[in-house]
Point group: C3
Chain length 497, copies 3
């Protein structure tokens, strides 16, 4: 009873604040109309979360109506959906346009200042305007990143082992269960959490006590986030709120949030590459927002986005490669060794793979590929040719061909090193020096993991993107050989007893 | 006698050079007057150290008089002292204005070309105009960074052990005393040296032989530098000479000089965060010099300074949080584990802490907090709310609240891992496998140090700033568990004998 | 027969494409004439490799004729050769101007669309206009980087060991021969490959099948690349194609391709330095292309290039130091320990060094210098003074002098640590715990290598450039002492048996 009164006062206070502080948006002729619902949001949030509002005001979403954006044609068109609801077309893409979509599906929908608002905007909501992008993303490994870890018995055992707390009992280490908090902070920070709704909770805000959905697994910016509407994937890791800028997505920093060493050293390798030295040095000369992105005039060296997903054209605007939001679709081989390099999986859901030993892996521990789930030679060739088109904007076919051959060699060699490491671990298991019940929790097993999860990957990424020291001394060949020697030493020391 | 004649010739030569090369500053109407004393400095130094002069000329110090700067009001005011000496008010803040202040206190004051000049400008000198900032800084941990290492028996033992040279005698390692040079290059490069004056020495310069103070512990840019006037702290690590730019201080690079992995991975974690990808991508769109710094319009993602010390306002100029130069004052918990996470210490002088075992540490090796020296729950809540205000410019209260709960969990979990590691080291000590006389110099002790000084810290910083891989594989959970296993293995191997 | 017809169709197709798509360059009055030969190249390559053409069009090479460039005088002059062939003077420096030079010497010269074209532009080709730069570069360590690895029995043993693949036979590791591919991807990616020509091969390009030279060791961007004309060295690692921008070369990213941790952590250390925080924060205010480069006005903090090779002047244009493309010529000591710090070698060909044990090293394993091949005290002093001039643009002589003394101390101390580590390895060898036949392939030897190749280097670079954490915890003193302890532990554990 008293609480209800307090809440009423809080809302009343908020209303007064709106009256006192709300600065109407300046009447600029170039500013598109804002829906009345979004104007209500802005009224309060200009004071409550001013940074969001100002960030949005400078964004493309705020500076055009959906209707005007639909008039763009050809490669310059930003909206890919055909059936945009008419009620959206006349306004800028404001708060309400995104945060009230598909309310029925949103378990995080709640009554807020007279509106029904979703806390989380999901990939399914973005699909309203950006249908093609979401359709490309949905079947990809990124969209399945949560399940690919948690629905895979092998990988989830790895997660549980790496993140397991420990106690010492009777002088011995005892493993605890990895907590949801540790998972959310580590593996699932990139892979995505499940955002669950556990009723409502009261929160004391700047303008009094209010009720909000009580969410677990949130905040989270994982690419495979399971949203409260059941859809998979977040767009904001690469297009962060509330500017949703294509410039941010095209710069390598966004990819570097998750694709960094030691396990996926793509960002580190890129930063040491000849491509990066040009892109970093000339960043202010690049046109980071042009669509299509013209090789040689808009940019003179690729970033991650240029090679892996952007719509690239020549300076005359002729398309070289189409945009894709399936980031594996220009890749024929998966450098990320699990535990060997392998052809890209056919499905973005990799938990359905099955190797010869029945494990959900693209290869057996001894290297045999789970061919049925991996793309075939023809598809590999198609993708290799697609990536080659990107290279060929600035490199001769001969150059690109030799470069790709070099990558092939790096894969073969690092796979052999993984095999040698595996043969040692198999020996340790068969000799009883280690126990394969959990293949990830003993010292020699941890050395083995380093071989395929850190060092082989570094060498392969380095070969693919020319980050030389990551092939040599920084988690590269040096470490592969040093660790192999350590594994042998570990076995020898214990075998002699 | 002959030396005196030489010196005279040198000075004479310098005077001639001034006559020959001195280009008077261009008579710009917008340029404020420069004091005659500073004009003398500039006359020579335009030739002797031209880079300094030109850098200063482009600075705010050169482009306004103190008197004009005093006219600013409210949040835009840059000068916080009330009692500025009148003789400073009519001029730009030139060489002499800073390098001749408080001469009597400066042991590094010396006769130089007819002036009495201080080599080092101290925090106490900056206080002349920037009194509030220095007053905030003076009681902080940063100002005490030298003593916090050297007056603390435990930490100075760690320093002495880490930096100890080694000889091999009779086939055995013998530890030498850590040298002042090694300390100045490593720990004290960030913490600060004592700058001592050992008389004068002759130096052959471009314009002949001259006498300068013979300084030890110099050059140094440590935040807790003990200046030749006895004051604590240098302002130049973050506001580097001679532009003293607020832009430099606001960009994360300045913090990254010292706050980087493996021990304090704040910069590395930040760079992998969603905040950084926006700040890095949009750096050219930010207004890096506006005072106050308006969230959403001047910047759309925080840097270190935004969260930890800057004066932040909303786009209408309403202050969200006041500026502070006590960088811990918005922090309730100290993530930097010594050896456990703990409430921030009450005093910036942490050498006065005393744990249950009488050691000057915020916690016992077994985790019990030295509560008397640490801020209480109420102060923790106040600071947590203060930091929450910064978050709330762009995030809902609910969002920030959940984020803070996540940090709490990371602290609890990493503290448990530190405890488990400590229980192993206690076992090794009690079993005679290692010797706790120096708790930092044996292999198993080094593994233990890694746990709390490198890996637990990484996970906590990652949780606080969302740099995910630093919680997972890059000095994170992976390393915590691997090293714990190594410690157990080290003990097992030696116990069986 | 059929293939020839196909080729003809391909060429015919290409011709048609040229007709259809070739957009003549806009008739700008400021655009210099392009030779007819280069116009032919551009005709096709605007479509085939549009990125290259556009990149070149924005470059200095495209925007001036050689004749006009020759009119510049003094420090601003970019062309240093005297005898430029007359036929080059009237045109922009286009495709043909570089790719057809010295054809007789180029084993990679081939018939291409009616021209005789070299695939690779060599340092000897660049010498046509940039003679002084190439003359400075040619005798340097960089130019000899390939031979310095491969013609040195000790270093090539290290390369072969680090990059050796492994098999497990009968439960034991067996070393394979390091492959050319692994070498090209790792060590030789920076040091340079030999680009060999193995006849012609057919390549299916965008415009049909064509014949190109079949090159091995290519692509490669190593500084000591052995070019198909026999000349040594590539200019493109620092002046990347096809803009050849001085801005790119002056920014630290270019150096960071190869000079990064753990072995040569120059870039990492620089990035953590006070110099870098200014250069990074103020990058947009710097004039990155001015020649000469004026300290204090064009830049207010040095990058790698500023200290090590650029032509630096004061704001009035008075030269402080001349440009050099021998990057060691301002260095008196070589911090890069092999295996101790040592005076710079006299010759860029370091494979001719001979230490007291007859090995091609600047020092013996026990530290005695191979003095005959190293610069003497006088030359050291000359170079130290030269570097001092760069410092003195912004620092007092006294400051710089103390800084240099600090570097001396770091060298002495880290050399003592290397000596202690060497004494342990000598003990292991003499006790039969390890075998010095290959001094690089066993676990304890790998620990020893870390000491001098990673950790001592880090401390020295940190001392020289003030990157403090690289002296302390990040591959610094912490690691030196930890690894020394590990070496002792390794020996103890095996000695007790």
């Amino acid at each position: 009873m008293k609480k209800n009164i307090l809440t009423m006062f809080a809302i009343l206070g908020a209303m007064i604040l709106i009256g006192v502080f709300y600065t109407p948006l300046p009447a600029q002729t170039s500013q598109p109309p804002i829906s009345s619902q979004s104007q209500t949001c802005i009224g309060c949030h200009t004071n409550v979360t001013p940074g969001i509002v100002a960030d949005w005001q400078a964004s493309r979403h705020a500076q055009t109506t959906v209707g005007d954006a639909l008039k763009a044609t050809g490669a310059a068109k930003r909206i890919s959906s055909d059936n945009i609801p008419d009620n959206l077309k006349g306004y800028a893409v404001g708060c309400a346009e995104c945060h009230t979509l598909n309310a029925a599906a949103h378990k995080d929908n709640f009554a807020h200042m007279g509106n029904q608002v979703n806390v989380v905007v999901s990939s399914n909501d973005c699909k309203t305007c950006h249908g093609l992008e979401v359709a490309q993303y949905a079947p990809s490994k990124k969209a399945h990143a949560y399940g690919n870890l948690t629905s895979n018995a092998v990988y989830s055992a790895l997660v549980d082992t790496v993140l397991a707390g420990k106690e010492v009992k009777d002088g011995k280490l005892v493993s605890l269960k990895a907590t949801d908090a540790a998972k959310a902070d580590a593996c699932l920070a990139c892979h995505g959490t499940v955002i669950a709704v556990n009723g409502l909770k009261k929160v004391t805000t700047k303008i009094g006590e209010q009720q909000f959905p009580d969410l677990s697994g949130w905040p989270n910016l994982g690419v495979g986030r399971v949203n409260p509407d059941g859809s998979l994937g977040a767009c904001t890791p690469c297009h962060p709120r509330h500017s949703f800028s294509i410039e941010v997505a095209r710069k390598p920093y966004s990819c570097g949030q998750c694709h960094l060493k030691p396990d996926v050293p793509a960002y580190d390798v890129y930063e040491a590459s000849a491509h990066a030295i040009i892109a970093n040095a000339k960043t202010k000369e690049f046109n980071w927002t042009a669509v299509p992105w013209k090789s040689g005039t808009d940019f003179t060296a690729p970033t991650c986005a240029a090679c892996h997903n952007a719509l690239i054209a020549d300076p005359q605007g002729q398309v070289i490669v189409q945009r894709t939001h399936d980031f594996g679709s220009r890749l024929w081989v998966r450098l990320f060794g699990l535990i060997y390099s392998h052809p890209q999986p056919k499905s973005g859901d990799t938990s359905i793979l099955k190797n010869k030993d029945g494990l959900p892996l693209p290869a057996a521990f001894t290297g045999e590929l789970a061919t049925a789930g991996l793309i075939d030679k023809q598809e590999q060739d198609t993708r290799r040719a697609e990536m080659g088109k990107v290279c060929s904007a600035c490199h001769s076919t001969n150059w690109a061909s030799n470069h790709f051959i070099k990558i092939d060699a790096a894969n073969v060699e690092t796979d052999l090193m993984t095999l040698a490491s595996t043969q040692l671990i198999l020996k340790a298991w068969s000799n009883g020096l280690a126990d394969n019940k959990n293949p990830f929790d003993e010292s020699i097993e941890q050395k083995w993991i380093r071989q395929w999860l850190f060092y082989s990957n570094s060498i392969r990424y380095s070969s693919a993107m020319s980050g030389q020291d990551y092939a040599a001394f920084e988690n590269g060949w040096w470490n592969l050989n040093e660790t192999l020697q350590d594994m042998q030493g570990w076995i020898d020391l214990r075998s002699k007893k």
